[in-house]
Point group: C2
Chain length 165, copies 2
DNA sequence: GCGACAGAGTTTCCTCAAGGAACTCCGGAA
DNA sequence: TTCCGGAGTTCCTTGAGGAAACTCTGTCGC
């Protein structure tokens, strides 16, 4: 296929920008693998069954974008991939995917993996809260407004959010 | 390209399952558009600049997966897409993408769109909390454990999370 | 010293589906 | 009776992804 081009959206949409970084097929799964400790090329390749070519491309891109670092672990040309701060924060996304997938897509067997929260020691999952007041913050709890990086002051028309997010 | 095949991962990974639903290019942006009120085919098509063919495919798939409903709004064959409960909860993912994108990828101009939280009236963004204890829950705050839907009891080896999430 | 080895990619070739553009279909409206 | 606007289809090209073989580099065993 042709490389999907979100360019028109990149200007005005943090979602599109984020997708540009981890939106490609396999990228989130690679991020997950590195997060849980599969740090080497062949480990990730074997775990995912991804082609070596694609894995190379994705890893290079993720390094380029500052999501991961490529660090030598031997005199020989051997490298490990580690998450940067930027990459670690991106794992939030994976946790939300996990929560949603567990809730809506888990088979009769239940979730394949559980997470124990260090702070309370319980098996739990993530919940979205307002960073300001701490109350729940979901799809219906917000109004979108044009921000400083928007294309310009939108006419306050009937369509509140034509150029979005 | 050949349709990316996560099949090996689908069995054991809620992330892969979730990606199977909204992981394709454009799907998250379509979800966003419908969320903010662009509900008709041509509106979405014009907003995203996506090809009509791909938009048709994505919409059909999202309807099939129960993320959206296709509802007539006229005697003529005219339809609108609306989010289901399942789809609305998936918007959480978009909010996390927005938060991450705003933090790490916003240009010098700042975020293109802001969200005002109904509960507190403030411009804010989402934060991840433990659904159980309410404390912050991020990448470093959890241990993954095999759950009921895992392939089987993993040998409690040195590699704590080989078959993951 | 020399070949086998292991990790980490590169390269090549092939296939097939993603994207784009143009076409169709349907039921009012003029 | 034609025009129009919304909502899809159809067709073609291209380039992404997969598979497998090849490369490069430093170690290890003998």
């Amino acid at each position: 296929m042709q490389r999907t081009n979100f360019s028109s959206q990149l200007a005005a949409c943090s979602i599109a920008r984020t997708l540009d970084v981890i939106g490609e097929p396999w990228s989130p799964l690679i991020l997950r693998d590195v997060w849980v400790g599969l740090r080497r090329f062949d480990q990730i390749q074997a775990d995912l069954g991804i082609s070596r070519k694609v894995l190379t491309e994705r890893l290079n891109y993720l390094v380029e974008e500052g999501i991961m670092e490529r660090l030598p672990y031997d005199q020989r040309p051997r490298y490990e991939y580690h998450l940067t701060r930027k990459g670690t924060e991106l794992v939030d996304l994976l946790m939300v995917m996990t929560a949603w997938g567990d809730r809506w897509l888990a088979g009769e067997a239940g979730p394949p993996v559980l997470y124990r929260h260090h702070a309370c020691g319980e098996i739990s999952h993530v919940d979205l809260r307002c960073a300001h007041c701490g109350e729940p913050m979901h799809a219906g709890d917000v109004d979108p407004l044009p921000g400083p990086g928007s294309a310009g002051p939108e006419p306050a028309g009937a369509e509140p959010a034509d150029q979005l997010a």
